[in-house]
């Protein structure tokens, strides 16, 4: 469940070959899908006589269902040289794996969204670092609230409470400090130095 936006026209034009079968995934549309832009693209392809077929469906990351739904489009897909998928990267990879011998193209760029795949959208983010630091930081995440994901305090570069990387952003560590101060827990900043473990789930979570 991510935010998708259509790639620019030239980029899409440059990757298409021959006739095109278009797959729109509306599964996470309640968050963000370029509905109008996708429709314009479909019309243009149809006007150019390049549209072999189109399916607008949801959750194309569900292989079993996508397979069933594409059954009646088999002839159109066979006729198409390119399958253009408008979805997040998960959907494109699903289709690319289903049609490994075909040219499968991504029509969208995928942007990250706070609140990942739980009930979204949410203003909080969790980078799934695997070693929750929130106990030390008054419940404000240093991984996502600090541009540099520092886990041992401020970098020293913030000005007037704003981040030096992005002046629109509040300094995460200043927020943490203020929260701890409010909670009377400033002792927490004197905890031992934290070392972030970058190992992935394959190494740590089992």
């Amino acid at each position: 469940m991510l935010i998708t936006q259509l790639k620019d026209k030239e980029t899409i034009a440059s990757v298409l070959r021959g006739k095109v079968f278009l797959i729109n995934c509306h599964g996470c549309k309640e968050v963000r899908f370029p509905v109008a832009e996708a429709e314009t693209l479909r019309k243009e392809l149809a006007e150019d006589g390049r549209l072999a077929g189109v399916i607008t469906t949801d959750y194309i990351c569900n292989v079993e269902n996508l397979t069933k739904r594409l059954e009646k489009h088999a002839a159109e897909i066979a006729e198409a040289e390119t399958i253009l998928v408008l979805s997040c990267g998960v959907g494109v990879q699903t289709v690319a794996d289903m049609f490994a011998d075909k040219r499968v193209c991504a029509g969208c760029d995928t942007l990250p969204m706070p609140g990942f795949q739980g009930v979204t959208p949410l203003e909080y983010d969790c980078a799934q670092c695997g070693e929750c630091y929130l106990n030390l930081t008054g419940g404000i995440c240093p991984i996502t609230a600090c541009s540099k994901s520092l886990v041992n305090g401020q970098c020293g570069g913030s000005k007037n409470g704003k981040c030096e990387v992005d002046p629109d952003m509040d300094c995460g560590w200043e927020r943490i400090y203020r929260r701890l101060e409010m909670l009377g827990r400033l002792d927490l900043v004197r905890c031992p130095t934290q070392i972030r473990n970058y190992a992935t789930d394959l190494e740590v979570s089992k």
Binding site: N62, N65, D125, C141, M169, S205
Partner: protein, 681 residues
Amino acid sequence: MASAPLPRAVPCEDSESQFIKEGEKLENYTKYRLKGIDELAQVLEGKDNLFVIACNKCFKEFECVDETDCEDFLNIAAELGKSITTSIKFDFLCNKTQTLRKLDELNVIPEGTENVVVISCGLGVQTMADAVKLPVIAAANSLNYTGHHGMALTKKACDACAQCYLNLTGGICPIVDCSKSLVNGQCGGAKNGKCEVSPDKDCAWEKINQRLAAQGRLAEFKAQPVQLRDYSKINFKVINDYVQSIREARFDGYYGGIHPAERKEFAEGFALARFPEPDEVVILMGQHIGAPANPVVKVGDYVKVGQLIGEAPSFISAPVHASVSGTVTAVEPRLHPIQGVPAMAVVIKNDHLDALDESVRPHGDLDSLSAEDIINIVRDAGIIGMGGAGFPTYVKLKPGKPIDAVLINACECEPLLTADHRVLLEQADEVIFGLQAILKAVDAPKGYIVIEDNKPDAIELMTAKTEGMENIEVVTARTKYPQGAEKMLIKRVLGRKVPSGGLPADVGAVVSNVSTAKAVCDAICKGMPLIERVVTVTGERIANPGNFIVKVGTSVKELIDFCGGLTGDDVTVKLGGPMMGFAQADLNVPIMKSSNGVIAFDTDHTVPVACIKCGRCVDVCPMELAPLYFQKYVDDGDVEGLKKKSIMDCMECGCCEYICSSKIPLVSKIKAGKKAVKEAK
């Protein structure tokens, strides 16, 4: 919501599942795991009087209702000698709106609590940390896995880099699949196709090379310029602002709701046309909520247009009238499009003389009629809610409670349908007259005509027509399904919440569909009972869509044939809209007073798979219920569970089924669940 431990339906253990592919573990997909006792001992050192709140976990197969993490923690806490003020479990702790509401309503944090322990992923912890003023302790670690997945449980990952490279790489992601996220080819360190960073892992660039070679695309790849990954493409400020705007739009007016593709363009441009008089009509006696009417004609009788043919036997019922003149050829059960089984009907052979019954006479102007007169006219005209539900209108007009607002529901939030839109545009004066009549009947000072912003022409027309009418206001509502549901409409316009199990009258409101208002006008001005209505015939598989004034009792098949028939095979036909309409296997069913549309679209052969607790049904349910439990408890036969989760509050709007990533037929499960609850009484 779940203060007491929930009944455990099935043992909670990691069972084999169709989602678990070889070498994968489903646990990987859920979001957190309780910290171990050693770590908890450290974290809890010097802290006591704990309030424990646990999230019921998401993104795992919904096999057990009662996740054990909370109990596990309580055991550990006891071992560490900690006192617990209370413990509670919430679904989807990260659902901030619902979590805050529940904390507020339940007032669960007891006096004397010093620390709040949260068992959840990082999102739940942050939500709680913002919500409570007490120190918050995270008792779990979020699980780390490589990249994002979609809604289905799959291993496919997307890192959301904002510059999708899959076009260059044959659909294999170099960001996620390559340990180094290289975007210009192999690092050179791979041995025998395995990654040098992690020898268990296939080299992504070797896989990319093989796939491109197989597709004959290597030359194309080599011709690509060097790729630079642009890390500035992800601007968190922009994204956060966007997410905030989404949240605002989603909760605009009322919680939840969805935005299905409108597809109204098929039919909205077609002006109302009178459907040719059918040779035969089949008029069902039970077209409304309540007791069916009793036929008062017999085979061989000659009936005229507007003549009473079925009498209402009780308070919650409605009489039925002849929609054509001619001879009664049968009084027998015929297939009912909503009930799906035969139900009593009167069949009339049309003599095409259009002979009007003597009872059809104008009742004079509004000033000369009392509230009671209006209510009686509406009752005798057999008027029922024409938006689909079919509740007898006159009953609504006798609420027995003071009413201060009448809402005309002109949202038409169902996709595809355009009947109400055409009524607004072409019968505006009648609708306004109907509203004035209803206002008089319930003695309400203010009427609202609520129109969604996807019908600007209707808003403009209605605003112009009601100019100078101090007691009528046209309200523009931002498009969102199910806006037209009574309770949502009242929340949106009046900001009042109809209590669980209550009616609009409980909060001083009466809601009427736009076509119902028009029917009220006809009944008063012409004396004509409800014998015809506007029906949209539309959908991808209708050859020539349109909006028609159709006599009640006209065959659906005739309507479809008139519109050029169905195109292609494997078509689903529904009476009503795509969200709440009723699928028809046999098209030889009649149009009823409540049938606002006949739609035809591609049949969906999707097969439901197990619930994965993605939480989206909870996210969209406008009644703020948790539909995932309904399907679980229905399958388990757990009636108590269904009641506890307030299944009877569900209005079957279908938002949950629409959004369900496992494609579970939630509405039919819920219908079965409601039946079970009723039978258990």
